[in-house]
């Protein structure tokens, strides 16, 4: 991510705060702002109206504005921007902000605020935006003086995009948008309290090289940090040159090509048998841009029972030794650290122990032989996994895939093989149902002409269904792949496994006719009920380049996601499909 704007731009005329906001966005090269107007931001909207460099995308609910800006960033490596009004505008956006925060996505949120003299008076549509968002932003600002507006916006973009990225909110009272001052947009702002580390410690990198070379049972585990910092090339180079096995987290998919033999699949709660077993039994683990969270390593005590050396590369020092103790911590910008690591590996005279590596691979192939993702392909009812497999085939593995949260998310992650970074857009940390459609919108706008599909479930999709209207307005030719099992599938699965089959409130009663619903929004709807029709329907849908096509697949209600590491269990204590 670049901080752009090398030339100093000035204007002798005094500008209003609203003009300054729009000018700053232009200076940052922002092409889309996702938002929804309201009283406190009317002057900003007036300035948006008067120009055409920054295009505004009118969503139907502020939550979707934040999600779409978030996805725009995830799919393009640029900073996403959203604009909401005071009070309910910003509270509606909070879920989207928290979602971006949990996945470290760079985003700038501009929120309107009541005039400075009304702050604290319980004014109409007043809310303490800075207070409400404080725990779910990287930083936030309340701008009370128009003379600080431009510098604050520059700071926000800089903070959002550097170090461990994250959302930054700027709260702008209405009177600040009308107050005037001379405009100067600084090319960069230095902050004495904010200097993220970039270069990794060379001594630590040397130690890492030594450990990697001496490993008998090595494993490489990479996460969202690799995607966010655009280090997929460096990871691939490292893994290929060493010949070691590699796994990606849910957020890290695409960091290493999924079709490569050295890829063991995703790890974690619904990771593959081979990836989880290799994680548990390796003797040297290289963790890159990942944070050992509970959905990834299961029970940390169980994980820690096996002696292994851990090398951990991350831009955020607080991610290191947070949940597992690390032997070689390397704090730095991931691509820079990996470049140095690759360089030192090339210059290295020691040799990888080929014999040990062969034995390790033989063990991994045995684990892989369990075929842990197998499902009933002869089923007369559509299996959700089958739909994702066909989606992969029909799109030739080259689509941008967004998902909501639940079973369908896991099947998409397991069965769509991502060879490139930034192709898999989902809410990993916060697990926000409803992101799928706004994520697809942001992804499509960031990549015009690209194939974008949203793999979703009926419960998730209904949470942001109003955005079908936005898709019509901006002619977004998304493909909605709805795996409709008439349940909140993941809730139902946990209730089946851990709550004695008592399906408390997890049944989706009174569902709409999705075909008619899509048509009422001006889109194309299709319902698919038989496995034999899956491929044909997908081909027809993707052939309609200019239409949003809503595919309602009626899938097996009782299908579960396997393998599964139950909560609190160790990574190697998986439930496999054949065990039920």
């Amino acid at each position: 991510m670049k901080v752009s704007g090398t030339e100093i731009s000035g204007d002798t005329r005094e500008l209003s705060g609203a003009e300054i906001v729009v000018k700053c966005l232009q200076e940052e090269g922002v092409d889309y702002v996702f938002g929804y107007p309201g009283g406190a931001v009317l002057f900003i909207y007036d300035e948006i109206f008067k120009q055409d460099k920054v295009r505004h995308v009118l969503v139907r609910h502020e939550q979707a504005a934040a999600h779409a800006a978030d996805a725009y960033s995830r799919a393009s490596q640029r900073v996403g921007v959203c604009l909401v009004t005071s009070g309910p505008g910003v509270t509606n956006a909070v879920t989207g902000i928290a979602t971006a925060y949990m996945d470290s996505v760079p985003m700038v949120i501009l929120s309107g605020q009541v005039p400075t003299h009304a702050i604290g008076q319980d004014a109409f549509q007043e809310v303490d935006a800075v207070g409400i968002t404080r725990p779910c932003v990287k930083h936030n600002f309340l701008v009370k003086d128009v003379r600080e507006l431009a510098t604050t916006i520059k700071k926000a973009f800089q903070i959002a995009a550097t170090g461990r990225p994250g959302p930054v909110l700027i709260d702008i009272p209405k009177d600040v948008t009308t107050a005037k001052c001379a405009f100067h947009y600084p090319p960069a702002v230095s902050m004495r309290s904010y200097n993220p580390v970039t270069k990794g410690h060379p001594g630590q990198i040397k130690k890492a090289v030594q450990l990697l070379i001496e490993a008998k049972r090595p494993m490489v585990y990479t996460g969202g940090g690799v995607i966010l910092s655009d280090a997929a090339d460096q990871v691939t180079k490292l893994v290929k040159s060493l010949g070691y096995p590699c796994t990606n987290t849910l957020m890290g998919l695409g960091g290493f090509p999924a079709t490569d033999r050295q890829f063991l699949g995703m790890l974690g709660m619904h990771g593959t048998y081979e990836a989880n077993m290799a994680m548990q039994h390796c003797d040297v683990l290289l963790a890159v841009g990942a944070r050992f969270d509970d959905r990834v390593i299961g029970n940390p005590t169980h994980f820690g029972q096996v002696a292994r050396k851990i090398i951990h590369i991350d831009v955020d020092p607080s991610s290191i030794s947070k949940r597992v103790r690390v032997d070689v911590p390397i704090v730095g910008h991931v691509p820079d650290v990996l470049d140095e690591l690759n360089k030192q590996l090339e210059a290295q005279t020691g040799r990888v122990d080929r014999k040990a590596l062969e034995a390790w691979w033989a063990q991994i192939e045995l684990w892989r032989g369990r075929d842990c993702l197998k499902y009933d392909r002869a089923s007369p009812i559509i299996k959700p996994q089958f739909v994702v497999e066909k989606l992969y085939e029909v799109t030739k593995g080259d689509a941008f895939i967004t998902s909501d949260v639940g079973q369908h998310q896991m099947w998409a992650a397991q069965f769509y093989k991502f060879d490139k970074p930034r192709r898999w857009i989902n809410s990993g940390g916060l697990g926000t149902m409803g992101v799928g459609l706004p994520y697809a919108m942001g992804t499509q706008l960031a990549n015009p002409g690209a194939t974008v599909a949203c793999v979703t479930g009926e419960a998730s999709f209904i949470m942001c269904i109003q955005e079908l209207s936005t898709c019509k307005q901006y002619r977004l030719p998304l493909k909605i792949v709805l795996l409709n099992n008439r349940y909140m599938g993941m809730v139902r699965q946990w209730q089946q496994f851990f709550h004695g089959n008592r399906y408390s409130e997890s049944y989706m009663d009174a569902l709409p006719d999705f075909v008619k619903l899509a048509e009422s929004f001006g889109h194309v709807g299709m319902r698919i009920e038989k496995p034999g029709d899956v491929e044909g329907a997908l081909r027809e849908a993707f052939a309609r380049k200019n239409d949003l096509v809503f595919l309602d697949f009626l899938t097996d209600q009782s299908e579960n996601v396997f393998p599964m590491v139950p909560g609190g269990k160790g990574l190697s204590e998986m439930i496999l499909s054949e065990e039920l």
């Binding site: 725990p135 930083h139 309340l142 309290s193 904010y194 029970n299 940390p300 139950p566 909560g567 609190g568």
Partner: protein, 179 residues
């Protein structure tokens, strides 16, 4: 299910110790709530927290007394450093340091207890700041244990009101915390 929580920290936790963390932070509105919010959001203890501007009015100096195992303290300092408003911090407990706390205590001082109360204040090097027929208001400075000891030494029923600032700390010798 009685499975262990996936959120439980591993067993290598060391004993919880008292730490005194000194922070230089931007003297801006909201900076204090960012620090306080971090402690409550992540479940860290705060025993006391004091803050005031420094000789450079753009900076505040904060002293936080907290308890935690080595791992928890490591996380606390890392998370604090991540806050944009935090300029610099140091764990004073890592090296020799001085800490002081101020207490104002209003006590009943009537009749024959009046002389005794004055003597107690003198023993603890307190200063009587305000006097009425029936009360003394005493200022006492020291580390927390000394203030505790003074309270212990008094008859409970004689204490009318106490107010303590929480500890402020500074390193001994040449070590300084500044920008």
């Amino acid at each position: 299910m009685n499975a262990p929580s996936p959120y439980a920290l591993p067993v290598y936790e060391t004993k919880a110790m008292r730490h005194i963390i000194s922070i230089l932070l931007e003297n801006e509105s909201g900076a204090l709530s960012r620090v306080a919010g971090l402690f409550s959001a992540r479940g860290y203890n705060i025993e006391s927290l004091t803050v005031a501007p420094t000789e450079d009015p753009s900076l505040s100096r904060m002293t936080i007394v907290t308890t935690g195992s080595d791992d928890v303290i490591e996380q606390i300092t890392k998370q604090l450093n991540k806050l944009i408003d935090v300029v610099k911090l140091v764990d004073l407990s890592e090296a020799p340091h001085i800490e002081r706390e101020l207490m104002l205590i209003k006590v009943r001082a009537a009749g024959k207890e009046r002389e005794e109360m004055k003597r107690m204040a003198e023993i603890f090097r307190g200063r009587i700041l305000d006097v009425t027929d029936g009360t003394y208001t005493i200022e006492l400075t020291g580390n927390g244990e000394k203030l505790d000891a003074f309270i212990e030494a008094l008859d409970k029923s004689a204490i009318l009101e106490t107010v303590r600032t929480g500890a402020s700390g500074i390193a001994r010798g040449e070590r300084v915390l500044r920008v």
